[in-house]
Symmetry: C2
């Protein structure tokens, strides 16, 4: 239980006590501001006038924990990157919920440096497809000159992105590389790329949990054009593009295997 | 349904057909290798000798999707970065499962460029604490010289990391910035930082699902020392350090709010 008391609208402190131990209480003073530096370790530092309150998490029995972690693994292990998406509509409420979920991610000094642009307009989706395919075609042809001149036809499938038209939603995730302080000065968002990528990991888990498919794509060369098309401000840079929908009935995926646990984990 | 046929141990193709439409089948030839270039859009490209197989995902009713996405949001929204962790033991099987889950993450051209080092040895945990605190103290004192000379005492809590001793497990996540080709040459892992950060997002979701707590930390200045301490090879760079355990009974968290949906999502 806690209460926050403000004095002169600037400083604040919190009185924190527990119903279990009402004879004991703590007073927490908040710092006026937090100085975030590049080598900083802490992600969610104290912010301006933020009090501390008791934390209570969910607690499960050991057997439940093992079962929950196993079930979640099985659910996520069924996730695959799917390039063949149907045009069947998806409830908008589900999209709202998965983005809300991504927004629970931690971020450097709690800057929450992400913008999720959800495109459902068919004209805009097609414009995005044009930009991405044009850029990809240049990439492939330019690069292929070196190695794969004869494979041009076979690779064509790699720059044609039909899913950009068919998927009911395209989610374009922008990282905010800086923000604005109340005085108008630039505020650097340290670790913005890591923060936004972590949020995307949570988004992928939320999509999989809802039965939706996507393919994680990084149309880096297209970032500036897509930013202008979607009228995003200059402090936002495109990180990822996720087409979201149901898989097509005849969708296929490469028969990839994942590394076993012993190849990715070391216990000391 | 599919079968993969290998010829001379090198080339392969897959025969894919559906029980629903047995009169129709497709043959997929695999490319010998995939050339991953920096501006590349696709994350999980074709790999050597990988055939394509039909994909079948889980399909829920619209009502179920909405409910599942809402429930998952509520679960993840309870996650907080917790710095006060108890020394109570946590079943190792849960740690295995959450790391297995992180390993289901997509990665650039399916390189899976992650190593999860789980430290449970008390001596090693303490060594890690010494390295992190020493580096952090230098950072704080050096930086604080500019701004906060008088606040030294009040900030002390920021470089003392008790959780590095008390948490039953420290998970140090390394990104593999390059790999090795079969011929011994370096293979660049494009997007390795984004890939590993996405895997960490999935790891955070898995921890929260199991009822475990952590705080996302980025001890960047300590990376080289910790890499040597943990005997990781030169191609691995420390990305994040997650202490994992149950919250202490008297754990507190800053009373932060998250941005509402309308501040993080734009629908067009």
């Amino acid at each position: 239980m806690s209460t926050t008391i403000k004095i002169r609208g600037e400083k604040s402190f919190a009185l924190v006590w527990s119903l279990k131990r009402p004879w004991s209480f703590s007073i927490y003073f908040a710092l006026d501001s937090i100085y975030v530096y590049e080598g900083g370790e802490e992600w969610q530092g104290l912010e301006e006038n933020v009090a501390h309150v008791p934390f209570t998490g969910e607690r499960y029995s050991e057997a439940e924990m093992i079962k929950r972690s196993q079930t979640f693994y099985e659910l996520l292990n069924k996730r695959r990157s799917v390039r063949f998406l149907s045009d069947e509509p998806v409830p908008r409420e589900v999209i709202d919920n998965v983005i809300r979920t991504a927004g629970t991610s931690p971020s450097g000094a709690h800057t929450e440096p992400w913008t999720f642009v959800v495109v459902q307009d068919p004209y805009l989706k097609h414009k995005i497809r044009e930009i991405v395919e044009e850029e990809e075609e240049i990439n492939y042809k330019k690069r292929m000159g070196d190695r794969w001149v004869n494979d041009l036809k076979r690779l064509r499938t790699n720059w044609i992105k039909e899913y950009l038209d068919t998927a009911p939603y395209l989610i374009l995730i922008f990282k905010q590389v800086y923000g604005r302080l109340p005085n108008g000065k630039k505020k650097t968002h340290y670790y913005n790329e890591i923060s936004v990528s972590i949020a995307c990991g949570i988004l992928l888990a939320a999509l999989q949990n809802a039965g939706l498919c996507t393919v994680t794509s990084t149309p880096l060369n297209c970032g500036p054009q897509l930013r202008v098309l979607l009228q995003r401000p200059a402090n936002e840079k495109l990180l990822l593009l996720l087409p979201v929908g149901y898989p097509k009935e005849d969708a296929t995926v490469p028969a990839l295997r994942r590394k076993p646990l012993e190849d990715i984990m070391v216990v000391i």
